[in-house]
C-alpha cells in the first residue's frame, strides 16, 4: 500500500467468447507468463491444459481431514465409554468397534468435507475482499457473459504497454490497465 497511486498492477484483456479466450490463453502460456489468469463466468473444460494449470493438491487435504475424522471418532468413543467412564450397558463390552462405526463414519465425512471446503477457500485465497480487478467497471461482466485474461504486475514480463499489445493481437476486444 506504500506505493504511489497510479502504479499499474494488472493488464486486463476482454474476450467475447470462450473460443477466442482458449486460443489466446494458449499463446499467453507459450509467451512464458507465470502470474496470469483467465476469468470466466463458468468453468471451461479444457482451459486448464491450454493454460498449463497443474492438478491441485486439494484431494490430500480431504484425505487428511478424513483420516483425522475417523481417528477422532474412534478415540473419542473409546475415551468416553471405555476409558474415562466405563459403564456396563446390557452386558455389552465397553469397547466394541461395530457399535462405534456409525459415529466414526459420520465424523470421517464431516472432517473430509471441512478439508474440501476450507481447503478450497485457503488455496484460492478466499475470503479476500479487495482485488485490483474490482477497480475495473468492465470486469464486472466476468461473472456474467465476458471472458478475461489478466496479467499481474508480479509477472517478470509485466509491461503494461507491451502486454496490452499482446492481448489485442490475440483478439481481445478491449484492453485496459488497472492501476493501484
Amino acid at each position: 500500500m506504500a506505493q504511489p497511486k497510479g502504479r499499474p498492477v494488472l493488464v486486463l484483456g476482454e474476450f467475447e467468447s470462450a473460443d477466442s479466450l482458449m486460443v489466446a490463453a494458449e499463446q499467453v502460456r507459450d509467451a512464458g507468463f507465470t502470474h496470469w489468469d483467465c476469468y470466466t463466468p463458468y468453468p471451461i473444460h479444457g482451459l486448464d491444459e491450454k493454460m498449463g494449470v497443474k492438478a491441485t493438491a486439494l484431494p490430500w487435504f480431504v484425505l487428511g481431514g478424513g483420516l483425522t475424522g475417523c481417528f477422532v471418532g474412534f478415540l473419542m468413543q473409546w475415551f468416553m465409554n471405555a476409558f474415562d467412564y466405563p459403564f456396563m450397558i446390557s452386558g455389552k463390552p465397553t469397547w466394541s468397534v461395530p457399535a462405534n462405526i456409525p459415529v466414526s463414519f459420520e465424523l470421517t465425512i464431516l472432517f473430509s468435507a471441512f478439508g474440501a471446503f476450507f481447503g478450497m477457500l485457503a488455496m484460492n485465497g478466499l475470503p479476500r475482499f479487495y482485488r485490483p480487478h474490482f477497480r475495473s467497471e468492465r470486469f464486472r461482466r466476468a461473472t456474467n457473459d465476458r471472458y478475461f485474461i489478466g496479467i499481474e504486475a508480479r509477472d517478470r514480463s509485466f509491461d503494461p504497454a507491451k502486454n496490452q499489445d499482446l492481448l489485442s493481437s490475440l483478439g481481445a476486444s478491449h484492453v485496459e490497465v488497472v492501476e493501484e
Binding site: D19, P59, V103, E106, P127
Partner: protein, 491 residues
C-alpha cells in the same frame, strides 16, 4: 430450428427420446447473459404482490409454531397426546418426515452430479435450499421431544460436572452425529455452489447495501480459472462425500427403530426402505415447490417439462420400492413365524390404525402408478396433485410405523390408543409455516438457479447445435478451440 415446436398444454415438449438426437435441457435461444438476466431478475426486481402474500401466509402459519412451542416448553409434554405405551408421538413422526424430505436436495446435487445428469443443474439449488430448511427440523423436533428442552445439550458429548458421557452404543446418539454432519455438509455444499452466483449478483448490484451484502457472501470470488480448477475439484469431492452420507443418514434414522426390539420396528429391511422412502418424499416436495415457482418466477425455459418428467420418473421408481418394502414386511412377518410380529402386521392393516395404513398405501403405492402414463408425467396439474399425495402418504408412513407398533406391542394389557391433541397438530402445521417462510425468503434473496452451471449446459448445447449445423454443410470439419465437455447423459 425451422420445424414446428411440439407442445404439451402450452409448454414446449422436450421430453421426447429420439435416438440420435439430444433434446435441449434449456429452452429458448439462451446465452450467458440471458441466463444471468433471467435468474438475477428474480432477486433484482421489486417483489410482487404474490410474493408478499406468500410470505405473509407462511409467517402467520409460523406464528402457530411460535406460540405452541413455548407453550409446550413452559407447560410440559402433557399437552401432547403421548401416553404410556406411545411415548414417541408427533415429534418423532415429524422428525423422520422432515429428515426424509431433506434427502432429495443432496441426492440431486451429489448423486446426480456423479452420474453426470446435466438436468440437475436447473433444480439443484432450490432442492438444496429445501434440504437445509427441512433438516433444520431435525434439530427442532428431537429438541422438543426430549421434554425438558433445556437439557437437550445432554445429547452432545460435552464435559460436565457429573463427568458422565453419552452412550455411544445407542442409535439415538448415532442420529445426533448423522443429522449434525448431514446438516453441516449440506450447508457447505449449498453455500459453496452459490459462491460464483452470489459474485454475479454482487457484480450486478446497483446499490451499496446489495453490493456489501453479496460482496461479503461472495468472499471476493473473481471467476479466475485457477480458482475454478480448485473449486470444481472441491465440488466433486464434496459430491463424492455427500453420496455415502445421504445414504447413511436415513439408515441411521431407521436404526432408531430397527435396533430396538419393538415388533414392527425390529427388521433388517429398514435402512434401504427408509432411504427409498426419503428420496421418494424428497422428490415429491421438490415437485410441489418447483411447479408453482417456475411459473411465478418465469423460469419455464430453465426448469422444463423434461426436468419435471425426470423427477416424476424417480418418484414412480422409488414409490415402487417403497411399495415392495411394504409387501416384504408382511411376507417376513408371516414367513418369520414370530407370533407377535405376525400380529403386529395384521394389526397395522386391520387394527385400530387401519385408517392410517390405508391412507399411506393409497397415497404412496397407488397414486404414483399414474406415472406409467406419459400424459400424467408431463401434466403440471397431475404432478402437483400426486406430489401432495405423496407428501401426505409419506407422513402417514412414519405415523403408521411409529404409532401403531407402540400402541399395540407385546401384552394387550399395555395397549392404548394414541390421539394427537391440538398442540400436536398445531406444531405439525406450524413447521410447514417455518419451512415455507424460509423458502420464500430464499427465493427473493439468493440465486434460485445455479447460474454458472446452467451456463455450462447452455454452452454445450449451443456448441452441439453449431457442430450439427457445420456438419450438415461441411462434413468432416470441426471448429478448433474449446472442446465441448465430455458429453453427459441428456437425462
Amino acid at each position: 430450428m425451422a420445424e414446428a415446436v411440439a407442445r404439451i398444454g402450452g409448454e414446449i415438449d422436450n421430453t421426447q427420446d429420439v435416438p440420435g438426437r439430444r433434446e435441449n435441457l434449456i429452452l429458448g435461444n439462451q446465452n450467458d447473459s440471458t441466463v444471468t438476466d433471467v435468474v438475477c431478475r428474480i432477486v433484482e426486481t421489486k417483489p410482487t404482490k404474490g410474493w408478499f402474500i406468500a410470505l405473509f401466509f407462511s409467517l402467520s402459519v409460523l406464528g402457530l409454531l411460535g406460540i405452541l412451542v413455548p407453550y409446550l416448553i413452559f407447560t410440559g409434554i402433557g399437552v401432547w397426546g403421548v401416553n404410556n405405551p406411545v411415548g414417541w408421538g408427533f415429534a418423532i413422526v415429524n422428525f423422520v418426515f422432515w429428515v426424509g424430505i431433506g434427502h432429495a436436495g443432496t441426492l440431486i446435487s451429489a448423486i446426480l452430479f456423479l452420474f453426470r445428469q446435466k438436468w440437475r443443474t436447473s433444480i439443484n439449488r432450490a432442492a438444496e435450499a429445501m434440504t437445509i430448511f427441512a433438516v433444520m427440523f431435525a434439530g427442532l423436533f428431537p429438541g422438543i421431544h426430549v421434554g425438558r428442552a433445556w437439557f437437550a445439550y445432554w445429547m452432545f458429548p460435552l464435559p460436565n460436572q457429573m463427568s458422565m458421557w453419552p452412550n455411544f452404543r445407542s442409535p439415538l446418539l448415532w442420529d445426533v452425529f448423522a443429522v449434525g454432519t448431514y446438516f453441516t455438509v449440506s450447508l457447505l455444499f449449498w453455500y459453496m455452489g452459490m459462491i460464483p452466483d452470489i459474485a454475479t449478483l454482487r457484480d450486478r448490484a446497483e446499490n451499496k447495501f446489495r453490493r456489501l451484502g453479496y460482496g461479503l457472501l461472495a468472499m471476493g470470488w473473481t471467476g479466475s480459472n485457477r480458482m475454478w480448477h480448485r473449486y470444481e475439484r472441491a465440488y466433486l469431492l464434496l459430491a463424492a462425500l455427500a453420496t455415502p452420507l445421504v445414504l447413511s443418514v436415513h439408515s441411521v434414522v431407521s436404526f432408531d427403530f430397527a435396533v430396538s426390539l419393538v415388533p414392527g420396528w425390529h427388521t433388517t429391511i429398514f435402512p434401504p426402505y427408509f432411504v427409498a422412502g426419503a428420496i421418494f418424499s424428497g422428490f415429491a416436495m421438490v415437485v410441489t415447490l418447483l411447479v408453482p415457482c417456475r411459473a411465478i418466477f418465469g423460469l419455464k425455459e430453465i426448469i422444463t417439462l423434461r426436468h419435471l418428467e425426470n423427477m416424476n420418473k424417480i418418484i414412480m421408481v422409488t414409490g415402487l420400492m417403497v411399495g415392495y418394502a411394504y409387501g416384504i414386511e408382511f411376507f417376513i412377518a408371516w414367513y418369520g413365524g414370530n407370533a407377535v410380529e405376525k400380529f403386529t402386521f395384521q394389526n397395522r392393516a386391520f387394527g385400530q390404525y387401519a385408517w392410517a395404513y390405508w391412507i399411506m398405501v393409497s397415497c404412496n403405492v397407488i397414486s404414483p402408478q399414474i406415472y406409467w402414463f406419459k400424459k400424467a408425467r408431463t401434466s403440471l396439474v397431475i404432478m402437483f396433485i400426486v406430489s401432495i399425495f405423496v407428501n401426505i402418504g409419506m407422513w402417514f408412513e412414519r405415523f403408521v410405523i411409529t404409532i401403531s407398533s407402540l400402541a399395540n406391542d407385546f401384552v394387550p394389557s399395555a395397549w392404548d390408543y394414541y390421539k394427537p391433541t391440538f398442540v400436536d397438530i398445531g406444531i405439525l402445521i406450524g413447521a410447514f409455516g417455518l419451512f415455507f417462510t424460509m423458502f420464500t425468503l430464499f427465493c427473493r434473496f439468493l440465486p434460485f438457479i445455479a447460474i454458472s452451471e446452467v451456463k455450462a449446459v447452455v454452452a454445450d448445447q449451443n456448441r452441439a447445435a453449431e457442430l450439427a449445423l457445420l456438419h450438415s454443410t461441411q462434413p468432416g470439419e470441426a471448429p478448433s478451440g474449446a472442446e465441448p465437455a465430455p458429453a453427459g447423459a441428456g437425462g
